[in-house]
């Protein structure tokens, strides 16, 4: 009942459903004070890694643990696996400490992807909150690579402070394009910030898109996604044209461990990207 546009891809990395493949850190780039982007290469030598934007991998930090992290790289660049992670606890912090050349485990890719194919011919609204921009970046690359097939493309991005803005240089490049509308807002303006202040939902009323022919893709904290959907609905976007990416605890990512259940859905397999109308009733219930 949840099967999305993207078929569940058979995981390509790892010798068994629960056994990671070994990759090495090629380089780590500091994005903000707590967020970093890693480029990873297979230990076994060059290898093609195909994924659908929106999918994630399980990353294992030696001896510490394994966590789900979305793929944040360009789907056209298949030789390298890219992840953008926010250091919030033991595993993500161990990943951050990895130096170039050091190894980690990867299983994946898992889950459903963003509806880039469905969105062809329509306007696209991409709304991101905080680290939520990372799982959306691949679909933006994908859309920009086939820009002529889409109508208006709008990126709405909200983050805590100007210092927390991810992919800053890329955002500037995107902002200078004539075929892409980029709006960034921060919760708290600090320093010389001259841009928008306030939550990302405030950007929706004035964003240029045709609500009756729009596909929206949202990723961020659950409250942010709820309010963004409300605003979009307010402008007339139907919930079957809205997609969100959910976060749940995941121990296996192959629907065996049971942790990621959201009603009848396994977020690891039926998600993380869901068409909103299919989960709308559950989104209204506390503590599902």
């Amino acid at each position: 009942m949840f099967t999305n546009n993207t078929e569940v891809m058979a995981a390509a990395l790892g010798p068994g459903p629960m056994v990671p493949a070994v990759f090495r850190v090629q380089r780590t780039k500091k994005e903000t004070s707590d967020t970093f982007t890693m480029e990873l290469l297979p230990e076994e030598g060059p290898q093609e890694f195909a994924f659908a934007p929106g999918q994630f991998n399980m990353l294992y930090a030696f001896g510490v643990g394994e966590v789900p992290i979305s793929i944040s790289g360009d789907p056209a660049r298949r030789s390298v696996v890219v992840h953008t992670t926010r250091d919030v606890g033991p595993v993500t912090s161990a990943l951050r400490r990895l130096k170039p050349g050091e190894g980690l485990g990867i299983r994946g890719p898992y889950g459903t992807g963003w509806p880039a194919a469905e969105a062809r011919g329509a306007d696209v609204v991409i709304a991101a909150g905080g680290i939520g921009l990372a799982p959306l970046r691949p679909v933006l690359y994908q859309i920009l690579a086939a820009r002529q097939h889409y109508g208006k493309v709008v990126l709405l991005y909200g983050t805590r402070t100007p210092a927390d803005i991810l992919f800053r240089r890329e955002l500037e490049q995107w902002r200078s394009r004539f075929d892409l509308e980029v709006c960034v807002t921060v919760d708290r303006a600090v320093g010389s910030w001259a841009g928008m202040v306030g939550v990302v939902t405030k950007l929706i009323p004035r964003a240029p898109f045709d609500p009756h022919s729009t596909i929206a893709m949202i990723c961020g904290p659950e409250v942010m996604m709820r309010f963004t959907v409300q605003e979009l609905e307010g402008r007339g976007v139907a919930t079957e044209n809205i997609y969100v990416s959910l976060e749940r605890n995941m121990k296996c990512a192959v629907s065996f461990c049971g942790h990621c259940q959201f009603g009848p859905a396994f977020v690891c397999k039926d998600g993380p990207v869901f068409r909103y109308d299919r989960i709308q009733p559950l989104m209204a219930v506390r503590e599902v």
Partner: protein, 431 residues
């Protein structure tokens, strides 16, 4: 962490009600006469050509010997610490001969029977999932040297195992876990190997416990399919024998190696009568009519508050349930920091850590956790695997320290709920 069943309110020592016969025990709880029971049994009569055989009770050891000769480790029910548990059997004498049980919400106790029945009890705290989906299992080991990380998967070489005494509900539970681990897009190689190495000797139930409700879940007490051999134990004044049915080629081969003969009409009838009598002795029943939409439309029912006020969120129900499959993982390292391992362990949705994501648990309240367990078991499971997650074995009722009863909780929601919208599926129990 919750792998051990907490037993409170349960008397550990075998009860001393020596004169109580099994059927009298059931009678004490009153019979739940379920009209569906009779219908089920009658429509379940053997397809034509299905043969039944007979061997005498004292030949049961020959069956064990034949299984062992074929390299099977035989596991089955045995008495330990006042309960019937599953463990390795050296001989038929290790079975709970002459024992029965008394079960109610939060209560379990063994009783002496007046006969020497080998299978005269209902299911205990163990289920076969401990052999197919072990409580603790190493997934892989990793080693780190200066310039290399290596991950070595666990070599899984499970022993050939014969399960002796698998009840109808338990067969259904195994088939449900097959759907979880073998048919969901990904397949669990460890489960698969264990499953393929299992030989199943099923037993038709001659005694229902006070917490049994397999009839209403369409999962028993008569064994349907999915076994290698199925036995019905017949204890008469002067004779004690088993009526046997072979369900697979492997079963026919093993049977061929022990003395047996074709069952006559009176033996077949005796066996049939035993299982139909058990069906009438169900201690409980669950009304599964449109249960999926009933639960999906009652996420906010006040009954969840009431059950949360009683529930200790101890997770016993999930540990004893033969279909609950959730696991967590644990990472360990040695002191040198060069060696690490990843272990998989049974987990329970009753813990707060189960649903933890950065910032806190998704289901901090007991309300949400009990609701998750029951709604998953009886509703979401149908969407996920095409079958209910409950087989009516009653374990969660018996082993709940406060006696929370899933049949009663469903009834409470049903009686105070608006009628759910109609569903189009026909069957909301187990297919």
């Amino acid at each position: 962490m919750v792998n051990r069943v907490v037993r409170k309110n349960v008397r550990r020592r075998p009860g001393g009600v020596a004169q109580t016969a099994a059927f009298a025990v059931c009678g004490r709880f009153g019979l739940v006469r379920n009209p569906a029971a009779r219908r089920l049994i009658m429509s379940d009569s053997d397809p034509p050509g299905e043969e039944r055989f007979v061997f005498e009770c004292d030949q049961l050891d020959l069956l064990l010997a034949a299984l062992k000769k074929h390299g099977y480790r035989v596991v089955g029910p045995t008495v330990r610490e006042g309960a019937i548990v599953y463990d390795e059997l050296r001989s038929a004498a290790d079975l709970p001969v002459g024992w029965s049980d008394e079960q109610e919400g939060g209560r379990y106790r063994l009783l002496k029977r007046s006969d020497r029945a080998h299978f005269g009890y209902a299911v205990g705290p163990h289920s076969w999932k401990q052999f197919l989906h072990p409580p603790v299992r190493r997934l892989w080991q990793a080693s780190r040297t200066q310039d290399r990380l290596e991950i070595v998967p666990e070599k899984d070489d499970p022993p050939k195992t014969a399960f002796l005494g698998v009840r109808a509900c338990e067969l259904h539970a195994i088939q449900i876990q097959d759907k979880v681990f073998l048919r969901g897009g990904y397949s669990d190689p460890s489960y698969k190997a264990r499953r393929e190495n299992a030989f199943i000797v099923a037993v038709n139930c001659g005694h229902a416990a006070g917490t049994c409700f397999c009839v209403s879940m369409q999962c028993g007490p008569k064994v349907g399919a999915g076994f290698d051999l199925a036995l019905t134990e017949v204890v008469e004044e002067t004779r004690h024998y088993f009526v046997v049915q072979a369900g697979s080629e492997a079963g026919r081969q093993i049977l061929g190696e022990i003395p047996h003969r074709e069952a006559d009409v009176s033996e077949r009838t005796a066996a049939e009568r035993i299982v139909s009598r058990t069906a009438e002795q169900m201690g409980r029943a669950m009304d599964t009519t449109e249960i999926k939409s009933l639960l999906y439309s009652n996420y906010e029912h006040p009954r969840w508050e009431s059950v949360a006020a009683r529930c200790l969120t101890c997770g016993n129900c999930t540990m004893v349930c033969p279909t609950c499959f959730c696991t967590t993982v644990e990472d360990v390292t040695d002191l040198s920091g060069k060696h690490a391992e990843r272990w998989q362990k049974w987990d329970s949705c009753f813990t707060t850590s189960f649903s933890y994501i950065h910032g806190g648990s998704v289901r901090p309240s007991g309300y949400a956790r009990y609701r998750q367990w029951m709604t998953h078991k009886l509703a979401a499971w149908i969407d996920q695997f095409g079958t209910s997650g409950c087989v009516g074995c009653g374990r969660c009722i018996t082993w709940c320290p406060v006696g929370i009863d899933i049949t009663e909780e469903v009834q409470a929601i049903r009686s105070a709920a608006p009628l759910p919208a109609r569903e189009n599926e026909e069957n909301h129990g187990n297919a």
